[in-house]
Subunit: 379 residues, 2 copies
């Protein structure tokens, strides 16, 4: 393999795929990045077994030559050091040549001879059937991830809850995540999808957070091909293959209350800031408890810590309560994260009882999103 | 104690003094910040036993009222949480009131009751005699620290080498640091100082790096009062008291070579970048060895790693060598840090032998600074 490439294009590709690499991988070769140069395309590959990425760089960008190819071929390079070598290279054009498993890097008067891995030992990425697919707007997909992924269960609990459940039924795409103390559910109707198209997939958190970073701007379409145990996402010049979590995701619809004892509407930012301040006194306690009291269109938020002291704050809300007082205790962090995910100017909070899960939603229901939080028993 | 204070002024003071606090201090009360409000000045105090800081906020800044005082007094507050409470306070004016050791913080509709410490248990800061003092330009002092402190020995080696030695003799201020593998010495003549003023002090690294951050802009004068075992620095509205390292700093003058076998002059930036690149292949090895070969006005820099591969780079230099070749091995990091400290467009490197210490200096000698590095034996 021998080629000359524009530094910035090469570096962008290397950095993109390197993010998926697990530095402590059990498989030495998965600490590397595979380069494949064939038919005017350089493909950079990296994988952590769960998520595999292929980043393509065309030799020509319109009429501009990005890669000058002298000889096709493939090699696996050690990612960490190699990226710094390219980043620090003194010239804009970088010459790469392989001799067996060694990679020669020339840039101006600087020459590196980098030990690589045997390309034949690099695992083949699985091939997926292209029978079933769905196209989503990148921004919409990114939003759905942001709105749900924070509610997945931490590692080492129930593996099935470590992913987000994506289902499609009657044109409605539903994304659900829960750690069994709280739940986030976002729904969206996809008008252009056939009525009878259906799926039920659990995408692991790690793949979603990685993917979210990669499509941050989210200006293009994401094409998703799915099978029982894996999905493949096409986004711009990159292909991501993801192993899914297998098993049956619990049916969470029955958990969502429909009758409410007390509701209030509040400015989202004001409520977030007040909860943020009051939880300064609770966040170091295991349960991170803050107390909410609704009364006369006022919400009192308070916390009490044996070691640190106490905090209390009042904000004006529009409440459905008239003479009564409604009181509930909740994790400060869960409430903050729910308000943040709702990201709405006005939010509505709906309580069905002092010991049952309550709902946080946009007050104008402009997005079909539900955040559900279980209160904390304090007695 | 009861007062109202501008949020931004209070926060600046709290952040400034908090940086000195050791979060794992053995003395619980040293995790706190002491407030003393007397005679129209609020003083914030913090200490890690080695460095103690006093930050003063005047009640009036010209005609503008910064603090409205209702009652003088003192209290010790828990630094970490308290600073966040002030940072997140919703209003620009913050009301502070103490009740025993509790601190009430009011800002708009937000109220905190923070548990503090007993102010009587906070240690008194030592008082220094004002007999001996020296005034230095803040920027000059900052430069001297930057040029020397990186050569101090790491912790748990010879305690005396964990500081920078500052001496004054015949108007010449000398700052020296060495970890016994390399040395940095900066001298400056202070014309306005009396001929017979003398000192010999070892200021601990921790105090210098902390102080460096604090005077970063360095636009004012630093007034330094010194005694045998401590110094007190006055800078703007802040007073720093520092315990010195006791003992006799080694005489390092005899280590500096005066006869040279080979010297070269190079562009500082070019040399730094080349060494930076080549040491990508050596930096993970314990000795971090790069090899320098001077020949025919060319410098070849190379490195070799059993695991990673090799690197080589040539740069043009002006050398005093004619037909010979001069070869030496050196730690890549030490050489990079020396060039960085010299911070000169052109630098001169002076070798007295392949196994003896060599010198890095500004080629135009515009500052009296010497970086000395011991080579690495490779056989």
């Amino acid at each position: 393999m021998k080629f000359t490439i524009e530094k910035s294009n090469f570096l962008a590709g290397l950095n993109h795929v390197a993010r998926v690499i697990a530095p402590n991988s059990l498989f030495e070769i998965l600490k590397g990045i595979k380069l494949e140069l064939n038919e005017n395309v350089l493909v950079l590959k990296a994988s952590d077994s769960l998520v595999s990425v292929e980043f393509s760089i065309d030799a020509y960008d319109d009429d501009k030559e990005i890669i000058t190819i002298e000889e096709e071929g493939q090699v696996v390079l050690p990612s960490r050091n190699f990226i710094e070598i390219i980043r620090k290279a003194p010239t804009n054009l970088i010459e790469i040549e392989t001799i067996d498993n060694n990679i020669l890097v020339k840039s101006g008067k600087s020459e590196f001879n980098v030990k690589g891995y045997d390309a034949n030992e690099y695992p083949e990425f699985p091939v997926i059937s292209k029978e079933h697919s769905l196209t989503l707007d990148g921004k919409v997909f990114n939003d759905i991830i942001k709105e749900t992924v924070f509610c997945t269960a931490p590692n080492d609990q129930r593996p099935i809850l470590e992913g987000v459940n994506f289902t499609l039924n009657n044109k409605v795409l539903t994304a659900t995540a829960t750690d069994s103390y709280r739940l986030s559910r976002r729904q969206i109707t996809l008008e252009e999808v056939a009525d009878d198209k259906e799926f039920n997939l659990i995408i692991p958190r790690k793949a979603l957070t990685y993917f979210q970073r990669m499509i941050e701007e989210g200006k293009d379409q994401v094409e998703i091909f799915y099978e029982n145990n894996r999905i493949v996402l096409y986004y711009q010049n990159v292909v991501y293959t993801v192993l899914l979590i297998s098993g049956n995701y619990p049916n969470t619809n029955k958990l969502i209350p429909t009758v409410f004892e007390c509701t209030f509407v509040s400015n989202g930012r004001e409520l977030f800031d007040a909860v943020d301040r009051v939880s300064l006194m609770s966040r170091e306690d295991k349960d991170d408890i803050i107390k909410l009291i609704v009364k006369d269109n006022m919400l009192e938020i308070s916390s009490q810590s044996k070691d640190l002291g106490s905090a209390v704050e009042e904000i004006k809300v529009e409440s459905t309560l008239e003479e009564d007082v409604f009181e509930i205790s909740v994790s400060g962090r869960y409430l903050k994260e729910a308000i943040y995910a709702i990201a709405s100017e006005e939010i509505i909070v709906k309580f069905s009882g002092e010991l049952t899960a309550f709902i946080v939603q946009p007050a104008d229901y402009h997005r079909d999103i539900i955040e559900l939080i279980l209160p904390v028993r304090t007695y």
